[in-house]
Amino acid sequence: MRRILVSLAVCCSLFFISCRKETFHETIPSEPPVMGLEEGGEGEYHEGEIVLGERLKNPYNVRNMKLAYSTLRKSGTYECDQVEVRATHYYVKFLPASLDQYEVLDSDTTIHLSEYPLDYSILQEGNNYHDPRVPDGEVTYQYTAVPVDYKFIDTIKYEILDTLYIPEEDPKLVNKDEDDDDNPNWDCIDNLLDQAYYQTGNYDDMMDPSNHQKTAPARYHPAGRIQIFDTRLGTNIGMEGVRVQARRWFTIHNARPDVNGFFRARGTFRRPCNYSVWFATPWFAVRKHLINTTYWINGPKKTGDWNPTVADGYARFAGHIFRGAFRYHYKDIAGLRRPYRPWYQRQLYIGVNKDKDWSGVNWQILPVIRIARYFGDNQEYGSDEIFSTTCHETAHTSHALLMNWGLVQYIQVTTQLQESWPVAVEWLLTHMEYADRGIANYGEWNYNPPNPPQYPNRFAYQYWNQGISGDYTSLFINLEDNHNELGQTYGFLTGSVDDEVTGYTLSFIESNILKHSYGLSSLGNELKANKPAGVTDAQIDQLLSFY
């Protein structure tokens, strides 16, 4: 039994020991800024069930492409010797047997999955499709195109539905690593495509359906601006960091919006593309349910820019979860450690679309964090509260990862320290986020606007006393802040902590003190051993005495 326990301790700690590389295994591409937004870009997006229509004839299969090429050559006007029609891709259907297998596929940044087949017409747009042949509770089939040299994973079942020649993806014709706007091969590619579309009856995909000769609309980079409404700010802000996908058939161009929501893909199209937004990065993903795929919203099929605003609804809720996770994983966090899970395991955020008696849950041993949308009588949390809760829950993960033996040591930390640390982290990161967005004193001790934020960002939680909560305390906030709340009035409450300690930063505490602290006693010892100038042992003892 002892041998089993020791082995278990080792196994569990391996979940959390920081054995991963410190660098990204994929960086967010740095997209060039948008130039010249098209005015009047449609801003709609679709949610709900996708209803498929008929299966279309695949213009990209090799046989059809060869026929198209030979037909054009016979016409005598298609002088495109550089085009070599051959198998470049497979159209693949994956059959993931479990969520773990889906997660392996979705984490692969070289492919982009679709939960509905790519060669069907769409009768009703939406953002949810579950193949009726797949039982509820199981992951539906996933569709994509992969290069012919793609290394399939033996344990994940797949079917090759078709062999494709995708001239827009042919490295002999297109350089995907550069802005290829002036590529002289585009005319050859587009004429071949038009012939292929014509042959398969996909007339709507032709550049000019009434004349399948060479009318050539201008190429465009899929671009636009994605915004989300923030209830705290009372205005729209950019949806930074989400993956914007622009797809035509099997060709996908991606972009990630900047802090103001502007995005521009490197690749180009001539014909309408289908826009969509995916709430995932290489390090985390947002889902609507645990047994579900990455949450996404489906945009229009159009040329030119797409400028949606996520004003309300579940998408807005998911968007603010994404913001909190994005801040913690990618943006300035004042020197705190990134909450990267080991072995590039993605953190999953489940946005729970129900009225719950909790605001957040961290499953710790599994990479799952749940965030509730509603509290009591279906009242919705505000945008900053969702953001703050997301940071709070993520900080639990980060704390456990910090400990030498991971979860085995983390569970030995008192609940007071386990909860007071994330309280301080959410306070810090939410302040940073909203200060960046224009509220300079958000979360400060005197921050109490007419529509005030809730805990702990109101009054910087300086009103805390033991009667409020023995676990969720202002302890770590008070180590960093420069405000003594003793005797200060906060509504009915009066500050009861005589806080003369200042000068610690949360990043310093995290790096030097937290991993050796299991309760107030060990925390006190570590604080004294790592005092900033001007702080005395007596001041530390006095502060801790209130907790």
Binding site: L8, V361, F375, H392, H396, E419, Q454, P456, Y472, F492
Partner: protein, 156 residues
């Protein structure tokens, strides 16, 4: 193997953090036959965000507050206490009485000081009840009830 599964289950239960929370709802009840207006002041100036009107018979919800953890005391921050120093309670737009949170040099004709059992600035003068209590959530109702005696205190 069975033991490992059990231990993993125990470990997951121990490590699973489900956030506890406390909700506090603040009400002002007008159990008099008169209209009541609450007008807070900061440094002798009216603080309009804290102004409240409660008609006769109304039990008005002022706000809801959320805090983490299970709290043994309601956590409420009414706007009329937002660094205000007094609150003037006016009945029928005619008779008023001032609730002082900070005792000034010169007092109004009718007033309650901070230590009065009717002063709106003291949480102890509100009825505090737990309306719901579960493992992860506690809900407080905090209520101040104006009675006919309050009206008479202002009038006489």
């Amino acid at each position: 193997m069975k033991n490992i599964g059990f231990i993993l289950l125990v470990l997951s239960c121990i490590s699973c953090n489900k956030e506890k929370q406390t909700f506090s709802d603040l009400y002002i009840e007008n159990a008099t036959g008169h209209k009541i207006e609450l007008l807070p002041y900061k440094m002798s100036n009216v603080y309009l965000p804290g102004k409240i009107v409660v008609v006769s018979g109304e039990n008005k919800k002022i706000d809801s507050y959320f805090s983490r953890g299970i709290s043994n005391t309601p956590v409420v921050f009414p706007a009329y206490l937002d660094m205000t120093d007094s609150l003037r309670v006016i009945f029928d737009d005619v008779y008023s009485i001032t609730h002082y949170f900070v005792t000034p040099a010169a007092l109004a004709r009718k007033y309650y000081l901070k230590n009065s059992k009717r002063n709106l600035g003291s949480l102890a003068n509100y009825e505090q009840t737990i309306s719901a209590d579960s493992k992860h959530t506690r809900k407080w109702i905090v209520q101040y009830r104006f009675t006919e005696q309050d009206y008479l205190d202002a009038k006489n």
